[in-house]
Amino acid sequence: MNPIKEHDILIIGGGGAGLRAALSAAQLDPKLSIAILSKVYPTRSHTVSAEGGCAAAVGKDDNIKNHAEDTIIGSDYLADQDAVEFFVKHCKEEILLLEKWGCPWSRSADGAIAVRAFGGMSKKRTVFAADRTGFFMLHNLFERTYLHPNIHRYNEWYVTKLFTDDKGVTGVMAIHQKEGEMQAFRAKAVIIATGGAGKMYKNSTNSVIKTGDGMYLAYDAGAALKDMEFVQFHPTALPKTGILITEAARGEGGYLINNKKERFLKDYVPEKMELGPRDMITRAIISEYRKGNGFNGPYGKYVELDIRHLGEKVINEKLPQIRELAIEFMHTDPVKMPIPVTPAQHYTMGGISTDIKGQTTVPGLFAAGETACVSINGANRLGSNSLAECLVFGAQAGKYAATHAQKNKVRSPSAGQIKTETGRIEKILTNEGNENPFKIRDEMQETMDHHAGIIKNEKSLSSGIEKIKHLQRQFTKIKINQNNTVFNGELITTLELAGMLKLAEITLLAASRRRESRGAHYRTDYPKRNDKKFLNHLLISKSGGIHMTPSIKTEPVTITKWQPRERKY
């Protein structure tokens, strides 16, 4: 075992939120030693796939009050309104900061930053860089880290554990994949920015690395998770691969069409049509399928997204990647043909509970980005708010982690803790079982697709929990065939799976506890929103060992100006 490595701040995750946090801390105090640990090269983080854009009220006819109101209504009143107010106030300065750093935002003719329409937003407020917004933002942030000598990068290091003592977080354990070695770290503050947990589902727009690791690490370290029952399904993904066709396609004027050649959204969200919020459009599509109005394809039912009327010029200028993806992966040129689309899991609204400083319930432990739950997204995130969230709250977490590091001394994880963790990994590597981790993962994903999908009820949820518990038991008999520890994909998959099996249980448990329908959480047995009983967050924490059933607490939603009303579009 190598000697412990030390930094002032450890950031787990090099996506939009992690990189923004690093830059924020580095700018605040150039003397702090900041390390980014990322299981893939930062530029391979999932932020790279974000297409449509990043919200900020920059348009002349827009203001932050509108942005706040849209976000709160979109959240079905579950967002904490103080957090939303803070968020909308800081979106614009983040956009302008990236502007100075050279992010190639798309422009209107006069050179001003352009904005496009997005679902659930009452004004054009989505700033974009063609339809590769996340890609441009991520690379811009990544390249900026080269300016700061106090930012150290540990590329392709997989974090397996957070260490804590009675005063809070003390460090992490990681696997250096290139060397196949384990390494312990100590630090004064740790920021988790590991992204969402979409890969609990099979049918998902997420990349394979979105396995919710940070949520599990934080839960295991004693931090509370919040709003885990809220999982967003995006209405327009390509069948089979789940590759996303951005909402910007509808923002720019695309239509959704059923097999009767109708723009069926007129029956569901007549005022907003294609620009309705995701949860409602997704349910509308499922309802069309049930009425027999879907198309039948080799990979199941679908509806059509038609952007032909936008014309080749607009498509090439504003939606070039959509065209490329449709041609590459569906052999369909959207200039000539409608694109087949169907809903898929897309985003985890829930996550590690934090305040607006990014502080979790464990001292010294911060979180930001999709892995965190502040909560500004509540029961349903509006498209393009999440890239902005990565920036605003990434910056916050960086700032407050830096302040924490300035004020506190470093403490080491104990030799015993390090030994236990090394032992755990070794045990997984040499476990004498016969179960295939990939098979258990597939079964978990299928279970979540069927039991925690777009439409739920008590029966499906409780049998889902039983199935997940069964898989957890199977997991103890897992067998890893690959014995070389260098870039051991089976080991990484197995570690990811261990976390996801717990997160899946938590998601189902929270969904079963919430006996109402709100935002993306829709139950046929409780089809109405129930503010009397459920205008609150469910906070979930470890109670006893990691294998025990977690404890669930409620926390009231913070309301400042917007009293809950019926949500209609």
Binding site: V48, P104, R107, H139, Y146, F487
Partner: protein, 249 residues
């Protein structure tokens, strides 16, 4: 409709130092990519092959390998477009870590020489939110680089001289130099025209041929050579210009 393919995978085990080819037969439908095929081989046959992947939609730049002799992204290369048998090998010009995983750390560090960031003066930062579509157009092509390193793998110069900054870093340098919001320009040109900079390139152009995002690093390098010449002349003239303005006073 499925078709049978024979997949040959170049393996390397760093612990034993052994090299070999694995051969797997798989039945693929029309839409199966090379990446899907490897996933299937690993998950069903537990072959334990190491390779990188993340987005599966040709935007993250993880999955570059050599397939049937060509540098490609595996996630947008379809089996139906390939000749059977399909041979998958690691990228060239890099040390092999394990199987198809190569060590790109050094090449990524080369970005440092590109000074891949803007700096701006106070006055410039005031008009921060103006960049005309025309100015944006200038950086459009080179800013598409996903850092997949296919170009570096294809570059014969990099293969011979690891000190060369390589096409990817050069393309990124060009992108920032052409950014209307940038002020580092001159300093960056110093770095680019230094010993390991663009002069090393002798315009083979292989990099642009393999680039999956049409970045044209070779073109960027040629343009930078021109910028470099001008920059050198300017630097040579600078003291003279200064003394001229002094003598005016």
């Amino acid at each position: 409709m499925t078709k049978k393919y024979t997949i040959r995978i170049r393996r390397y085990d760093p612990q034993t130092g052994k090299n070999w080819y694995d051969i797997h037969n798989i039945y693929a439908e029309r839409r199966m990519t090379v990446l899907d095929a490897l996933n299937q081989i690993n998950e069903h046959e537990r072959a334990g092959i190491s390779y990188r992947s993340s987005c599966r939609m040709s935007i993250c730049g993880s999955c570059g390998t050599i397939v049937n002799g060509k540098s490609v992204l595996m996630c947008n290369t379809f089996l139906k477009d390939l000749e059977d048998p399909v041979t998958i090998e690691p990228l060239r010009n890099f040390a092999i870590v394990k199987d198809l995983v190569v060590d790109t750390d050094a090449a990524m560090e080369k970005l440092r020489d590109a000074l891949p960031y803007t700096t701006f003066s106070i006055t410039k930062s005031r008009c921060e939110s103006v960049q005309t579509p025309k100015q944006l157009e200038k950086i459009k092509q080179t800013s598409q680089c996903i850092k997949c390193m296919l170009c570096v793998s294809a570059c014969p110069i990099y293969g011979l001289d690891y000190n060369f900054m390589g096409p990817a870093a050069a393309a990124i340098a060009y992108r920032y130099n052409k950014d209307s919001r940038d002020h580092v320009g001159e300093k960056r040109l110093d770095s680019l025209t230094g010993r390991n900079g663009v002069w090393k390139c002798n315009f083979v152009g292989e990099c642009s041929n393999v680039c999956p995002k049409n970045v044209d690093p070779a073109g960027a390098i040629q343009k930078m050579k021109v910028m470099g010449v001008l920059h050198c002349i300017k630097s040579a003239l600078k003291p003279k210009l200064k003394s001229k303005s002094k003598s005016k006073k």
